[in-house]
């Protein structure tokens, strides 16, 4: 068949397909129109293959190729019920993923919590050490924040509900930003994640040790124990995700490095999804529960211990059933 005949036979079909694509690209296609989309798309692909194998002109082939490309984009769109997926992820997917990546999780936790505890103990025993890590001004600021005389504790002494809102925003921005950095810098052969895990561990440890040592322990610990369950775990998990990225580059196994990295990134970004959820929860608790001075420290310790237990048992036990959660 000569090209002109081929073109005149199918021109109207191509125009109709192009119109359908326009509607889909603008998100204004109705269901009736799309009934035949798959068949139309395959027919167009067949026309393209025919045109190529018959040596038709570049112009026609380019035109068909563009239509095929646009059709491909619409046909293979990733659409899934986000709500259902999210629920499945929270109920089972995330804890399973954490357990599947237990090597990196354990390594990151050891680095983070290990440096935190070690630094805390050191500063508690040798108080001057805190100034080798944190500037004098910042230390004074910290002391002021957790002064037992303040009515409400946290980053500012006196707070009302507007403050709670402000701090909620601040915690989200700050903490999720840190988690993202910890994850992303894992791409630098894991060194970035290593740095952020140790750095944050040392800083938090130093502050905790110092405040305990000068006798502000009760205000500090009762403030941080609640949201710490989510926040500290989340930072460790973000570090684990970053270490996984770095490890894929260092030891790609039988895959090319680029491919290994791509696969590792696919897994670790799901970890980051869980980390984001944890940090949102932590920010919420930190802004609305931890800063409340109505509850006595004893209650806060109990609730905090409960939250730690909840997080650990969630990560260790959830999603162990054989059936997928519905």
């Amino acid at each position: 068949m000569k090209q002109s005949l081929f073109e005149s036979q199918h021109q109207s079909a191509w125009q109709a397909f192009s119109g359908q694509l326009d509607a889909l690209e603008r998100g204004k296609a109705d269901n009736q129109q799309c009934q035949s989309f798959a068949a139309d798309y395959r027919r167009l692909c067949q026309h393209l293959a025919l045109a190529q194998s018959r040596g038709y002109s570049s112009h026609l082939i380019e035109h068909l190729q563009q239509l095929a490309m646009r059709g491909h984009q619409q046909f293979y769109r990733h659409r899934s019920p986000l709500g259902g997926q999210l629920l499945g992820f929270i109920l089972a997917g995330f804890p399973r993923l954490v357990r599947a990546e237990w090597r990196f999780v354990v390594a990151a936790s050891l680095l983070f919590f290990g440096s935190l505890l070690a630094m805390g103990l050191l500063v508690y025993l040798v108080p001057e050490l805190v100034y080798s890590l944190i500037g004098t001004e910042q230390v004074a600021e910290m002391e002021q924040m957790y002064d037992p005389d303040a009515r409400r504790i946290g980053r500012f002494g006196e707070r009302d509900s507007g403050d709670d809102w402000m701090m909620f925003g601040y915690y989200i921005m700050n903490n999720i930003g840190i988690a993202f950095q910890t994850f992303a810098s894992g791409l630098l052969l894991g060194l970035g994640s290593l740095f952020f895990l140790l750095f944050n561990g040392l800083m938090i440890g130093a502050v905790a040790g110092h405040l305990t040592q000068i006798g502000y322990g009760e205000t500090f610990w009762s403030f941080v124990i609640g949201h710490g369950a989510f926040e500290l775990t989340a930072i460790a998990l973000a570090g684990a995700a970053g270490l996984k990225l770095g490890w894929a580059l260092l030891a790609p196994g039988r895959l090319p490095r680029g491919e290994a990295l791509r696969l590792a990134a696919g897994h670790s970004v799901r970890l980051i999804g869980g980390v984001i959820l944890f940090l949102l929860l932590a920010a919420f608790i930190e802004a609305y529960w931890s800063s409340m001075s109505l509850a006595s420290p004893v209650i806060k310790y109990w609730v905090g211990a409960g939250l730690w237990l909840l997080v650990l048992s969630y990560l260790l036990l959830a999603g162990r059933g054989a059936h997928a959660p519905d």
Binding site: S4, S57, M69, Y76, L188, V269
Partner: protein, 241 residues
């Protein structure tokens, strides 16, 4: 007499001389993508940066009126704009942030499918590393070194930034009497002749003469008539309209 002594197994398998990137789809056709280079991408990013800056300036001016509640909301919005602006636009607007849309670019997966949540999140979180140590140094180095101009985030996410093609205009073939070719041609040779006739309008007459002259000998005509001959053969290949 054949036009050339080199024969290729199939037109599609010839190595391309440009940066085009081929993807074979499950339908058995090849999609041809044109990855966007550093400059187009940097401009798109600059436009996005300006838009984000303006957006934040307006938002903060409004929210400052709301006091501390507004500040909290503002911080959350700042977070959203910093980390999620690109992701939301890329996933919900068919791979195009406003800057990319203006520059005629889009983000897709390596296999040509539209970018999804996970890939978009990866490439935009790893932007942090591309920006190191300053002014996108790592990203630029990676982009310039990669055959498909990927920055580190793109490599990890398995994504590509490609040009969106505009619909080609319909070419007018020069008028000529349809002719049969005096020899048999393979597909790529057919396409070359058709391509010459279709591009005739865009070429200067001297260049046309020069190009057509190459074929004067196998066509067995003097070089001045070769162009007319080729146009005739192209008409003949195209068939009656």
């Amino acid at each position: 007499m054949p036009l050339s002594s080199i024969t290729y197994p199939a037109a599609a398998q010839r190595p391309l001389l440009d940066t085009r990137y081929q993807v074979e789809t499950p339908e058995g056709i090849d999609l041809i993508l044109r990855p966007a280079g550093l400059v187009a991408r940097a401009l798109a990013f600059a436009i996005d940066l300006l838009i984000r800056g303006a957006l934040l300036a307006v938002l903060f001016a409004v929210l400052a009126l709301l006091g501390q509640f507004g500040m909290g909301l503002g911080t959350i919005l700042l977070f959203l704009v910093t980390w999620w602006y690109m992701v939301l636009f890329e996933v919900l607007n068919q791979g195009r942030s406003p800057g990319k849309q203006l520059m005629g670019l889009r983000v897709i997966h390596d296999d040509g499918t539209p970018v999804g949540w996970s890939a978009s999140l990866i490439r935009n979180l790893l932007r942090f590393v591309d920006m190191l140590p300053f002014a996108y140094t790592l990203g630029i180095l990676s982009c310039l070194n990669h055959p498909a101009f990927k920055r580190l985030g793109d490599i990890a996410a398995g994504t590509l930034v490609v040009y969106r093609d505009n619909a080609p205009s319909v070419p007018k073939l020069p008028a000529a009497e349809p002719l049969r070719a005096p020899f048999s041609m393979d597909l790529s040779e057919q396409r070359a002749l058709l391509g010459f006739a279709e591009r005739a309008e865009a070429l200067s007459s001297a260049r046309r003469l020069e190009l057509a002259g190459i074929l004067a000998e196998p066509l067995q005509v003097p070089p001045e008539q070769a162009e007319q001959r080729i146009n005739g053969i192209a008409r003949g290949l195209l068939g009656p309209t």
